[in-house]
């Protein structure tokens, strides 16, 4: 696992060139390998415009939060990035990244948690890009699965069924599965919703670790404080528009009040 991550890291550095900070350059069309770029993109759902004229890039190794009130199209943006939603106009380019370069964490409520499958089998599912859909999960993969479970503090739960896990444990399990994918781009849809503070802390640490390894992180988040402390870049969705840039520049009391309502003082008083 460690060796693999090291190799991965070196490969990433080679691809990414000098600018590892993931700074956004919204005005310059970017063709660098591994950059995901939206160009004047727009999406509709059921005939309604969700957002339009969105332009910006997720550079390799960048760590970007997608923020905005409910119903502003945050998940739609994720799905457009992954090619799951056809764009109404504009383009999305993925800098040579294939579907298998993406790791995806769905919203937990979408998963059928009653399905009779064990924790180990669920984690091994994350390695399918390596084992193939029909190949055997050999000793190496099984060891990796065990260490992934250990990493998220589920070491003792390997034989349990997923139905027996608590919400927090289940989210840890999904993160362990992401560890198995070893993906260059990690896409998280509301990863910390309905989790207690220690679990959120542990998993956020893991996300930061991925960021340090040079992986690209894109996450839909609701907690503004979390975004301010951990995510250098942000896309704020509001009224069909996206404001895209460095977090301190974008998440000001004025823009937050516009996006989420409430008083300006409430947003100004937030610890940042």
């Amino acid at each position: 696992m460690v060796a693999a991550a090291g190799l991965h890291d070196r490969a990433m550095r080679r691809i990414m060139g000098a600018d590892r900070m993931g700074h956004l350059h919204p005005m310059t069309p970017c063709t660098a390998a591994g950059t995901i770029r939206l160009e004047d993109a727009g999406a509709t759902m059921g005939g309604q415009v969700v957002w339009r004229h969105v332009t910006g890039s997720f550079r390799p190794g960048s760590m970007t939060a997608i923020a905005g009130a409910n119903g502003t199209g945050k998940s739609t943006l994720l799905r457009a990035i992954l090619g799951e939603v056809p764009l109404a106009h504009g383009t999305v380019t993925r800098g040579g990244l294939g579907p298998r370069d993406f790791g995806y964490l769905p919203q937990a409520r979408i998963i059928d948690r009653g399905f009779p499958i064990s924790v180990t089998d669920m984690v091994l599912g994350g390695a399918w890009q390596q084992t193939g859909l029909f190949g055997r999960a050999d000793r190496t993969v099984r060891l990796r699965a065990a260490s992934a479970l250990h990493r998220v503090n589920l070491g003792g739960q390997a034989q349990r069924m997923i139905a027996a896990l608590s919400a927090g444990q289940f989210q840890r399990l999904l993160f362990a599965r992401l560890l198995m994918t070893d993906a260059r781009v990690i896409v998280l849809d509301e990863p910390f919703t309905a989790l207690d503070a220690p679990t959120t802390q542990d998993l956020l640490e893991l996300v930061c670790e991925w960021h340090a390894q040079g992986r690209t992180i894109i996450a839909v988040l609701h907690d503004i404080h979390q975004i301010r402390t951990c995510f250098p870049d942000v896309v704020l969705l509001h009224g069909g528009q996206a404001t895209w840039g460095r977090t301190p520049d974008i998440l000001t009391p004025v823009t937050l009040q516009r996006a989420y309502g409430g008083t300006r003082d409430r947003w100004a008083d937030m610890p940042s």
Partner: protein, 288 residues
């Protein structure tokens, strides 16, 4: 008559009983595991719909062959069942209707169409055979078809096991990371259709789905692990085949319904005594 001869004689004396026994065992073995998967995917209603959907295909086979030809009707049934599955999937993707709603519309259409075709050319007896099956009239070629279908379905299920399970638990993850879950979904629907066609020969369109759903529901009450669940479901279906045939022989009851009702009795007994059955429900109420 000793108990042993009551169990043994019907099959030792009559060839049609032996063939019925092999047929119901084969059906139970193939349909049981598929039924478990169908229920876990919350597609029970769709299984029901599919069993009706194969009727017009079988009826057209009946017309073309000019009688109750198992091969023609089997092929017709498979084609019609897959057609309806594809069509319903397409309709639910293109419209706002959920998949189960479009399935329900298609199967009612199919049922009406099938009955219309058979009764236009055939007798009422033919219609009864198509709707309720003729397990005591199974011949060697029908047994071969059933055996082939069961073999294929167990083999295919074990091959597509991993992607199918992944697609069931979390379709989003599989799709977003570049897996084509849709193919395995279709492959699974194919398994459902061929197993229903196998059951259709013996139990008819209206009851063949019973051999799929009732043993599966029984098995789910006894275990929470997938593989044991499938094995138990198959075993329940096979046991119900044996018991149902003996009951129908000794009490002069119709064979097909006896088999399905035996499945039901096993289900009700399991509900009463299994750890996940009614006792578990009461336990939850007491503690909450």
């Amino acid at each position: 008559m000793s108990i042993l001869s009551a169990l043994w004689d019907p099959f030792a004396s009559f060839g049609f009983m032996r063939r019925a026994l092999v047929a119901s065992m084969t059906l139970g073995m193939g349909a049981g595991p598929v039924g478990v998967m169908l229920q876990l995917r919350r597609m029970s209603l769709i299984g029901d719909a599919m069993s009706h959907a194969i009727l017009p295909g079988a009826a057209i086979g009946f017309l073309l062959a000019g009688g109750l030809s198992l091969t023609a009707m089997g092929i017709g049934g498979i084609v019609a069942g897959l057609g309806v599955a594809l069509l319903a999937g397409l309709v639910s993707r293109r419209t706002q209707l959920a998949e189960d709603a479009s399935f329900a519309s298609f199967y009612l259409t199919s049922l009406a169409l099938g009955v219309l075709i058979v009764s236009a050319r055939g007798s009422n007896i033919d219609l009864l055979h198509v709707l309720f099956g003729t397990i005591l009239g199974i011949d060697a070629s029908a047994l071969c078809l059933m055996g082939g279908i069961t073999t294929l379905s167990i083999a295919l299920l074990s091959i597509i096991w991993r992607p199918l399970v992944m697609e069931c638990v979390d379709p989003g993850f599989m799709r977003m990371t570049g897996g084509r879950g849709g193919i395995y979904h279709m492959g699974f629907l194919f398994l459902v259709v061929i197993n229903l066609v196998a059951g259709f020969e013996a139990l008819g369109t209206l009851m063949s789905v019973g051999m799929m759903m009732v043993p599966a529901a029984t098995a789910r009450l006894w275990t929470r692990r997938l593989l044991p669940m499938m094995v138990l479901s198959a075993a329940t279906g096979m046991a119900a085949g044996l018991i149902g045939l003996l009951v129908s022989y000794h009490y002069r009851l119709a064979a097909g319904p006896s088999i399905i009702l035996t499945c039901s009795v096993l289900y009700i007994l399991s509900l009463a005594v299994s750890p996940a059955g009614l006792r578990a429900g009461r336990h939850v109420h007491e503690t909450s």
